[in-house]
Symmetry: C3
Subunit: 166 residues, 3 copies
């Protein structure tokens, strides 16, 4: 069998289920995703449960929701700037310390890591089942996302080798 | 080499180490496991540490245990109805909210997700080393489980591609 | 193609990103790593974020640091004996209970699990990016580590099948 230039070599697939809404875990996920994309992996991040919160726009979006969905909306952080740490959060002091050292070392903060991932073609999939349950609507989330369920994730992951749950 | 009908095509293997005893993480694990089983993956969930708690019967089972093992037994939740959320637990209000929205959307709650996994032939392995350490006995756990150690897990996982730690 | 004795069969690669600094998760990671090494997998653990704390020497090492890096150094646990549990920590009572049952069952505690991993040739990589951010220096960490970034991790993981994030 010959390999034509058009077909080219296939790129390794790498997937991350981003379940966590913690700042530190989200940073780890995007650092791995951006690293893999730089090595020409086809990278997919599947955002589910609390992981969806970092995809929310930081302004309040007016939507028509039930009371329970509104309650979830109020309680959950809006966007990557609002996330807490999984450890040593100290009522928000921990995230400030982390953001400070990131700036000092000229490292990328989470919003820039997300932007870089989008520039590098990392596929960002929002889990539609979680969106239904928590009452999150597409207009509340940032642009450039795909919307799909667990079947889409499994389709990617079953061809990958590096498949992480974070 | 020819492939006879008896041998058939091999099914992809998918494994999950379910370490967490949180309701939300357990739901994510079973949604992925059930999805993979629906796509004819051979799925194994290896329950270890706090993950074992969702396999406990909800009634109290009389056993002969040391004081420390009894203490673990009292402190740890008995069965999938008793699990807390990893975030926004609010002393049990969070899980009630989640259960409410699940019902409202006709989605499957954790006990039904576990039942579906068993119906679909997902292999549920209870980690015997953790059972020894925490003093959990087989008669305290639900029926239909296999009992094995990390070697059994590695045997499955090393043939799989989607291998998650949750 | 012939396979010479020098080349030998290739061993399966197994990798773990150890992000967590929790005692229970660290134990799970090392039990899997040691099991895989016993089955002749080439195992790599990549320590990042809070996972680095279990590699710290337990004595205080004098270093020249900024105030923020000093603060991180004070707040974070020094070495495997100081880690907390992810659940049921009860201000340190939980870890004591776990250590007690481990001793009672003649199981290996975390310091011994780490030692065994090193004896079995498990590759322990400290994430240099996290070390920069948190101000951890090589003389504060135990001997026998490699120092590298996410690229080294991805190099190993993209050849592996069992790739976990813990």
């Amino acid at each position: 069998m010959t390999l034509t230039a058009e077909q080219g070599p296939t790129h390794p697939k790498t997937t991350i289920v981003l379940f966590s809404g913690d700042l530190d875990k989200a940073m780890a996920a995007f650092i791995i995703a951006n690293g893999a994309a730089a090595y020409e992996h086809e990278v997919t991040i599947f955002f589910t449960f609390w992981g969806l919160n970092m995809l929310r726009k930081d302004e309040l979006v007016r939507t028509n929701k039930g009371i329970l969905e509104k309650a979830f909306g109020w309680m959950m952080p809006r966007g990557p700037q609002k996330l807490a740490l999984s450890k040593m959060n100290f009522a928000g002091l921990g995230p400030q310390m982390i953001k400070h050292v990131i700036k000092k070392h000229n490292a990328l903060a989470l919003p820039q890591l997300i932007e870089l991932a989008q520039e590098q073609g990392v596929k960002l999939i929002a889990c539609t089942m979680t969106m239904d349950l928590l009452g999150l609507q597409q207009e509340e989330l940032v642009d450039g996302l795909e919307y799909a369920g667990v079947a889409a994730y499994l389709g990617e992951a079953s061809q990958g080798r590096v498949n992480l749950f974070i």
